[in-house]
Amino acid sequence: MENSKKCIVVTARAVPESSLTQNRRSFYSALVSGLGSAISVGLALPSVAYLFVGHKADKTSNFVEAANLTQLEVGKPKKVTFERTRVDAWRMFQEKVIAWVVRTDEENVVAYSPQCTHFGCAYHWEATRDQFVCPCHESRFSIDGKVLGGPAARPLDRYSVRVENGKLLIGSEIRKA
């Protein structure tokens, strides 16, 4: 009698304890993966935003006087050099900028960025062929910037321009993807 009683007690204790342990085990595992994921997300979100979300630009670029309209002949490209302030992240400095400028009529001017849209070499105007020609891989562009031949895949990049009081003002580069 004494013996069987003891036996019952043992089983009665053993059964709930093992199921409790099982429950606790899964509870602990769930806690580890749940909180672990929360921490990972908390670390990853700011990092991804920091690395991949665009930075706030401090200012929009100003237009700078680059040439007098009187210096430009209609239909004859001219290489123009001007100075502007460049903001490069935390640095700010004066830099010389070059543009190929074409006066299309009395009032209108286009300004091309001086680099070939293929691999960025400096192209030049060949008056005899009436083309912009890149010395690197022989991309050729028409006076209105279109690709005439060679490996370049897109027309010449332009600067935004304005004409005021007979003066040509050049702003930031407009890059088309």
Partner: protein, 531 residues
């Protein structure tokens, strides 16, 4: 499929088995919440390492550019301010958790044989953590960084015998610090300390595993348990709480950026980071030739004492509740540290230093320029000349106008939407802004808050510039007004307007009676101008 991949990996590298051995390590039955701090410290180090690397991606480690790049990071980089706050508060929270980890080890007597080496590696890690704090302190290159580090190098110079060598090693000439010191602190912070820390952490964890988690005398009567999942779960909860605290602080408490380091700014009173404040106060007790005792000898003895703890206390393992001596020592140290820290805090004068990362371009241009922006707005020029886009009239902020001044004057007088709003002198001032201005003025033109512009109009109307200099414009009959908001409080400035001699004896400044709203506008405005 996945199973096969794992088996392949296990066969070639044994990584799965290693992870399993790590997780299913036997630990004493008594293990629990009091042993979570080591894991939290490791996590804190990983957070510091990752935020540190991210910060370095937008940081120029040279004295001139460091400050500008940090300001750029804070103002323009997405989540840059949060990232810096995480690194800053993470450092403080890491020191807290490292010290708590050490106190736990000490109170439980976990340094006893055979765990002496584990303890020594731990003390070395504590010193490394403090070294990060000292070297990282200089990197923002603001006044706080500069003057704080001057003190650090001066203390290094006091070390008997090797002082001059240490100073040379730190790249200082003994009186000021410059490019070489900066570079060495940077190299120490990002190139020397991290691999050293990683190595010591590896050693420390290896030793913990080699000797096992310290059991208590009671553990002999209990079966051992596995590290995973119970203890891992407790560690994870602790890490989560630490991380939540870090994120909360980083989002809510802004970390300011002071003025750029200025070796000639003798008005700056440096204070060390909070965990070193006690040392700052402690040094006041040691005068004259005794200063080396407080600055070098006693701190060194304290470190040596810490290293020797396992060799001094060689008694048998005892229960925590029987270790009254150890608990008493910790309490004494806490009272010593807390008392000195509280004393420093109580004796530190309140500073109103401006957070330079929050200073906008309008706070850095002349009051005259600001007033001209006010004329532009008052005459409603913006109804045709929309700023930032071309409307009916050209965008005047895009490029300086090349029209002759006479044309512009005539144009402003005849075309103003609010006719007669401006006097001739005001029209001329506006012509100047339209034809000649700085980039900061352009930004202010677009973005300056109206209240600040009106404050500048009051300033201009009362000709304050005929006696005072502000942002490099005006005369020097009276004191310059840059930084007046840091030197004086609002009540002083407002009272001073009404009765200057009452506040500064011998003042020749005429009394000004402002309407209450005007008084607020001009006071707000001048208080916003940084030093």
């Amino acid at each position: 499929m996945f199973r096969r991949l794992l088996d392949w990996l296990e066969d070639r590298t044994g990584v799965e088995g290693a992870v399993k051995r790590f997780l299913y390590e036997d630990i004493p039955h008594s293990s629990g919440w009091h042993q979570v701090f080591g894991s939290v410290a490791l996590f804190a180090f990983l957070v510091q390492a990752s935020t540190g690397i991210l910060l370095a991606l937008n940081y120029a480690p040279t004295p001139g550019e460091a400050y500008d790049s940090l300001r750029y990071l804070l103002r323009q980089v997405t989540a840059g301010r949060l990232m810096r706050a995480m690194h800053h508060w993470g450092a403080s929270l890491m020191i807290i958790v490292v010290v708590v980890h050490m106190i736990q080890t000490f109170v439980w007597g976990a340094y006893k044989k055979p765990r002496e080496a584990t303890w020594i590696a731990g003390v070395a890690l504590l010193l490394l953590t403090l070294a990060y704090g000292l070297s990282g302190y200089l990197l923002p290159w603001d006044n706080r960084a500069y003057w704080g580090t001057v003190v650090t190098t001066e203390i290094a110079a006091l070390v008997p015998g090797v002082g001059p060598l240490l100073v040379r090693l730190l790249g200082s000439d003994g009186t000021s610090i410059g490019a070489v010191t900066f570079t060495r602190f940077y190299v120490a912070h990002v190139q020397l300390l991290p691999p050293l820390t990683a190595l010591l952490i590896a050693l420390h964890i290896y030793l913990v595993r080699r000797h096992g988690v310290t059991p208590t005398p009671e553990d002999e009567n209990h079966p051992r348990k596995k590290f995973y999942p119970e203890q891992v779960a407790k560690d994870t909860v602790a890490i989560f709480v630490w991380f939540a605290l870090l994120m909360g602080m980083s989002i809510l408490a802004r970390v300011p950026l002071g003025r750029v380091a200025d070796p000639t700014d003798l008005s700056y009173v440096p204070r060390p980071e909070w965990y070193f404040l006690f040392l700052f106060q402690f040094l006041k007790w040691f005068e004259g030739p005794l200063e080396v005792v407080g600055a070098v000898i006693l701190p060194t003895l304290a470190v040596v004492g810490l290293l020797l703890v396992p060799f001094i206390d060689r008694g048998v393992m005892r229960l925590v509740r029987q270790r009254t001596g150890a608990i008493g020592l910790v309490l004494l140290a806490a009272i010593f540290w807390g008392g000195l820290t509280a004393r420093t805090v109580a004796t530190t004068p309140e500073t109103r230093e401006m957070d330079m990362s929050m200073v906008e371009p309008w706070q850095e241009i002349s009051a005259g320029n600001m007033a001209s922006i006010g004329f532009f707005r008052r005459a409603q020029c913006g109804s045709c000349h929309e700023l930032g886009k071309s409307g009916v009239g050209p965008d005047l902020t895009a490029a300086p106008s090349s029209r002759p001044a006479s044309w512009l004057e005539e144009h402003m007088k005849s075309n103003a939407k609010a006719p007669g709003a401006l006097t001739d002198a005001q029209v001329q001032a506006l012509v100047t802004l339209v034809t000649k201005r700085s980039d900061k003025a352009v930004d202010a033109w677009r973005n300056a808050p109206q209240s600040a512009v009106e404050g500048a109009l009051v300033y201009q109307a009362h000709a304050c510039a005929s006696c005072h200099r502000l942002n490099d414009a005006g005369n020097d009959l009276g004191p310059p007004l840059n930084g007046v908001g840091e030197r004086r409080d609002r009540a002083w400035i407002e009272g001073h307007f009404a009765n200057p001699p009452k506040y500064s004896s011998g003042s020749i400044m005429p009394r000004s009676q402002f309407e209450p709203d005007q008084l607020k506008l001009i006071t707000d405005y001048i208080m916003a101008i940084p030093k």
